[in-house]
Amino acid sequence: MLRVENLTVKFPSRFGDVTAVEDMSLAIGEGEIHGLVGESGAGKSTVGAAIIGLLQSPGYVSDGTLMLGDTDLRGLDRFAAHALRGKRISMIFQDPQTSLNPLMRIEDQLIETILAHEDMPATAAKKRAVDLLEEMGIEDAATRMQSYPHQFSGGMRQRVVIALALCTNPELIIADEPTTALDVAVQSQVLELIRRLADVRKVSFMLITHDIGVIAQIADTVTVMRRGKLIENGPTAQVLGHPQQAYTKQLMAAVPPLDRKIARFQVPEEDGLAAPGKSKGDAAEAWLLGGERDVPIGLTLNGINVAFPGVRTSIWRKPDAYMALNDISFDVTPGSVMGIVGESGSGKSTLAKTLTGLIKPISGTMTLGGAPLPGGRARSRHHPSRQLIQMVFQDPFSSLNSRHRIGAILSEPLWLYGLVEDKDARRALCADMLGLVGMAPEAIDKYPHQFSGGQRQRIAVARALLARPKILICDEPTSALDVSIQAQLLNLFKDLQSAFGLTVVFISHNLSVVRQMADDVVVLRNGRIQETGPSEAVYQTPQADYTKRLLELTPTMPSAWRA
């Protein structure tokens, strides 16, 4: 149905043409869901954009064939291409928040799209819109479609977006990360819907995603891309279950399994710049282990409540408080890894901020190694916990000051806590610490923007370690990274944790990642603890209904597919 052969897409730049996609071929049959996987920068979205004819200027298709049925997509002029978009090919974008016009009722958006492509009376278009929404599983569609997009939840909105894509009966829908912004429960419903549309309506889908679990769950065929090139394609079970190419094998090895804990990911450590023979960070390791380093310490939370001011409903009344965290109590055993899982809005980040003293709880107590740990502003700048608790943040692009050199960023904790007084010694230690986290010591004179996301995250880890912390809080440290980089970083965390006896609080929405890391686990939902216990017990025999459902709905691949 869709046939792409030898597609090459180039982007002219001031350094000459950059080839974004090279010699790409794939075919999608009727009613087939074709997964397109690859890491960021692999050119997945560019392929989708080239097919639908919406390449971002100044990109252009320089070579290849694009056939939809008997239509040559490359041969169309601007007007014919416009008429075809929406009519025969539709697109679903990642973020349902922004792909609907917030100022138009759902009804008007649907009817507008239908009438743009088909000549029919408005009443018939409305009828079609209602039918579509009901088909998407929106109940009472005739009334619901009077609403504005913000009155729908994220999952409902994505259903509306799918309805919009479907309302002209297209043959092919290109879905670019359609479920990435959604929580697992909603994700599984949307995936089910896509599967049903493919089976019942015979719509073909091109599903662009970085999530191999999603592909494994619903795609019939799959194409693996890397750096704009085709690596491997074919039926999903064959490509992912018995990968032929080395890259596909690596990719599969890097995916954290949900059903068991593995000691280390079998991935090449190619991301760090460390050259063989150079410093491996021995001096930094000795420094971290030396001195008055005593036993690891634990962390206890007792009945922590955190409230934020809610929406003000009247100028006379104080707004009702919104409880972000409700009666949170748990113990982190010294030297262990505590995993905290929860979906968006569960209060994970609020918990991290409370631990680091950025937010003050309204009640409850915290202790650090037996000593009371004040919260919020009550924790002074000179409180010892400022040094003992360090944090690795989620976004490697904003957690390092882009105007400072790596050396300045790394040496900050050293002089701030008076750990190393001599300037040259600080520099030497920082350089060696970079070696310890798998980077070249030369990185010390560069700026953060010269590094990739994974490398920056390593630098952030080095900064945290240079404070000689006893507690390391990691807030979604790998969720902005590709799976292979994530696997390398998780390996690094495991190594560092066992080498230095750190107590780690590891926060993530990704159940599989937490399973790989954590000794104990806390499951959060809407600011309340649903379940807590040793991680193997929680994963194998979940007690709370919520945990059971989460585990069940997370897309995974058959365990037989792993090497």
């Binding site: 901020k353 700048r381 409180h383 360090q390 882009s402 105007r403 400072h404």
Partner: protein
């Protein structure tokens, strides 16, 4: 050379836009001319002995009766127009630049602190800024001028006119800086590198000036250029209205005011030449400001 230019986005964009290059050349020429006025200008317009009433009202050299001694003609006192303009531009630039620097320091300091501390301090600073914004710049200048006249002893008033004018202009410009600095600081406060610094227990002043300030310089630099142009214009306006610099040490605005008297009597050059000069200066600075904004804001590209 080409490779170097290509590597730097800003330089590359610069070479692609002729309007900006012309603006840069014009602004640079005027600034160099003004800075080196004492060495470049044919005569010193402040030195009463250097000109004579006999040369008064001579037209530019290309007009009938023009003299090669005075390329752009003379004013009613017989002062060489080129010299007056160069010295005038020098004064205008001195006042404009110092006013801009004072406004930047005051505005960025207050805005940064307001954005960092928030709460009551933020509210107070921003309300003062709102009040300041409600007063027209000219009114502020008149107010400061009035106070200075009342407070300072008469013999100092003449000497301190430049200072008074600078302060007046700075006071009416700081709000821009404060608002921008505050808004940008708010954005940076949510960035994780700031949270990391707060969490580590670094000193607030260090976080503000070492961490946040370098990250908000982009928009501030744009405002600095645009406000330099405003400051020069404001000075010209005040001098034109007679509350700025006196006729014996004329700035561009004073020259334009003097020229006004001769507009209808045929001596057009006394008004038009300094006016065109002022327009060229302000427009080219503004063009450079717009260019900087494009460089610093990739979204507009």
């Amino acid at each position: 050379m080409l490779a170097f230019i290509k590597r730097h986005e800003g330089l590359w964009l610069f070479t692609r836009s002729p309007a900006v290059m012309i603006a840069a050349i014009v602004a640079l020429t005027i600034i160099i001319g003004a800075v080196f006025a004492p060495w470049i200008a044919p005569v010193n317009p402040y030195d009463l002995a250097s000109f004579s009433l006999m040369d008064g009202l001579l037209p530019p050299v290309w007009e009938e009766f023009g003299s090669e001694k005075f390329l752009l003609g003379t004013d009613d006192q017989g002062r060489d127009m080129i010299s007056s303009i160069l010295y005038g531009a020098r004064l205008s630039l001195i006042i404009g630049v110092s006013a801009m620097i004072i406004a930047t320091t005051l505005g960025v300091g207050l805005g940064l602190a307001a954005g960092y501390f928030g709460g009551r301090f933020d509210a107070i600073v921003m309300r003062i800024a709102d009040v300041q914004l409600a007063l027209p710049a000219i009114l502020t200048a008149l107010l400061i001028d009035g106070i200075a006249r009342g407070v300072l002893p008469p013999e100092m008033q003449q000497d301190l006119r430049v200072v008074v004018l600078t302060i007046a202009i700075a006071l009416s410009l700081w709000v821009n800086f404060a608002r921008t600095a505050r808004a940008s600081t708010f954005v940076q406060m949510n960035k994780e590198y700031v949270q990391a610094a707060v969490m580590q227990g670094q000193h607030p002043l260090r976080i503000m000036f070492v961490h946040i300030l370098p990250n908000i310089l982009g928009p501030l630099l744009v405002i600095m250029t645009v406000d330099l142009a405003s400051a020069i214009l404001l000075e010209a306006t005040l001098s034109f209205l007679g509350i700025g610099l006196p006729a014996d040490s004329p700035s561009l605005g004073t020259l334009i005011r003097i020229g006004m008297q001769f507009l209808l009597s045929g001596e057009w050059w006394i008004l038009w030449i300094p006016t065109l000069f002022l327009i060229a200066l302000v427009v080219s600075i503004n063009l450079l400001g717009d260019f900087l904004r494009d460089v610093f804001n990739p979204r507009l590209r």
